[in-house]
Amino acid sequence: MIRQSLRGTASLAFAAVIALCLAGAPAYADDTEVTIDNFTFSPASLTVKVGTTVTWKNHDDIPHTVVSAGKFRSKTLDTDDGFSFTFTTAGDYKYFCSLHPHMTGMIKVE
């Protein structure tokens, strides 16, 4: 029991070190953020390089989602929640909020 829990702690610590390393790793210079304010994605249209991670942040008092049909789908983002997606393939990614479909945006990946 004790050994197991020690091992558990050790692996937790190991995981934490890995996480720290990952967090500390130099981010791609062009990793970027799309904010949601007033039921609007901003910027509504964004061009990024392949490999870029885009993070959406919801600043509204109402939950939103970020959905690109067949490509990616966030969970429901409550206030201050975020969702990240790394674009590994070039193309145009149209997306919208599945709760408020008049909210639309586009990520162009080159």
């Binding site: 304010d37 007033n38 039921f39 609007t40 509204d60 008092d61 109402i62 939950p63 049909a69 969970k75 429901t76 409550d78 206030t79 149209k94 997306y95 919208f96 599945s98 709760l99 408020h100 479909p101 008049h102 639309t104």
Partner: protein
């Protein structure tokens, strides 16, 4: 009196410092409640709760509409949405003349958490009325999209649509919050429309029809998504019926429109107000002075009179 009258001074800072006696009375009596509907001789009328309390016991069918409880919402626009729902239910419980049942036009919860549904049920059940629900988009947010269906969707078709009859009136609960399309509005979908057509087929045109759904079935303000993409199809099937009443929520304010045989009406929320169309950068929760909040929650008093070319919108304050 316009349908926006209830919003007329929401951003007037003077309201916060010294409310008039009338304002205080309004706040006392408007604490989030519902709309009482009375159907007499096939003609639906909605009464303010105070009006209804003063009126003699209705001879026809009476039912209540509440909407947009958003249980779990705790942001500045109303840090205690559960509390204002409880106030609304308290007022309904205290009504001297008991309505036959209640309809809830969706957004029962804010984030579809099990605890939010449980809290909503605990409070709403205190009214001791049957409640007929339709879902809002906030009721389908749990990962497996099962909490709403398990609680309220049993026996319903598809995502939760159904119909029932009461006192000769045919009630139809529709779902227009699923499978929404990018850039679009609310959506009924082909399957539900086919069901609706079938549900109405062969029904006497003199049957009063009440349709209820979360998002307005008429286009209130497309820039904010306030409308239903394929509502026109549903309204085609309702053509020819002598009395059609469409009750919605979603926009957290009273609006009414009459078009031919169809009267559209939206109810207030019991949780927080939203701005009039285009009056703010977004339709998000509207923060008002604390002593003003209850004047924007819950109750509308609107009278319908059949047989008139233009039906007057009487957006009656309860003290009016």
């Amino acid at each position: 009196m316009s349908e926006f009258d209830h919003n007329h001074d929401h951003d007037d800072p003077r309201q916060g410092s010294g409310p008039s006696r009338r304002r205080v009375l309004e706040c006392m009596t408007w604490a989030g409640t519902g709309v009482l509907w009375t159907i007499t001789g096939g003609v639906p009328r909605s009464l303010g709760l105070v009006d209804s309390a003063l009126a003699a016991a209705p001879t026809g069918l009476s039912f209540l509409q509440i909407s947009d409880s958003h249980v779990g919402f705790d942001k500045p626009a109303n840090p205690n949405a559960l509390g204002t729902l409880e106030e609304a239910i308290g007022r309904i419980s205290a009504m001297p003349s008991k309505p036959s049942f209640m309809i809830h036009t969706g957004d029962i919860t804010h984030l579809s958490k099990a605890a939010e549904f449980d809290n909503a049920e605990r409070i709403i059940s205190q009214a001791k009325l049957d409640v007929h629900y339709v879902p809002g988009e906030h009721d389908f947010l749990d990962e497996d999209v099962k909490f709403y269906r398990e609680r309220y969707g049993r026996g319903a078709k598809g995502a939760g649509w159904y119909s029932f009859d009461a006192n000769g009136v045919h009630f139809i609960g529709l779902v227009n919050v699923v499978d929404l399309k990018a850039g679009g509005l609310g959506n009924l979908g082909a399957e539900q429309l086919a069901w609706l057509e079938d549900d109405l087929k062969g029904r006497s045109k003199s049957t009063p029809i009440v349709v209820f759904a979360h998002i307005p079935l008429w286009t209130v303000y497309p820039a904010w998504g306030w409308g239903t993409e394929d509502a026109g199809r549903a309204l085609e099937y309702l053509r020819g019926f002598g009395s059609v009443t469409v009750l919605n929520g979603h926009i957290h304010q009273v609006m009414q429109k009459v078009e031919g045989n169809v009267t559209f009406h939206t109810a207030r929320s019991t949780a927080f107000p939203q701005p009039a169309p285009g009056a703010a950068p977004s339709p998000g929760p509207m923060k008002v002075a604390d002593d003003k909040l209850r004047s924007l929650l819950g109750i509308a008093s609107i009278n319908f009179k059949a047989g008139e070319q233009r039906l007057a919108i009487i957006d009656t304050p309860l003290q009016g």
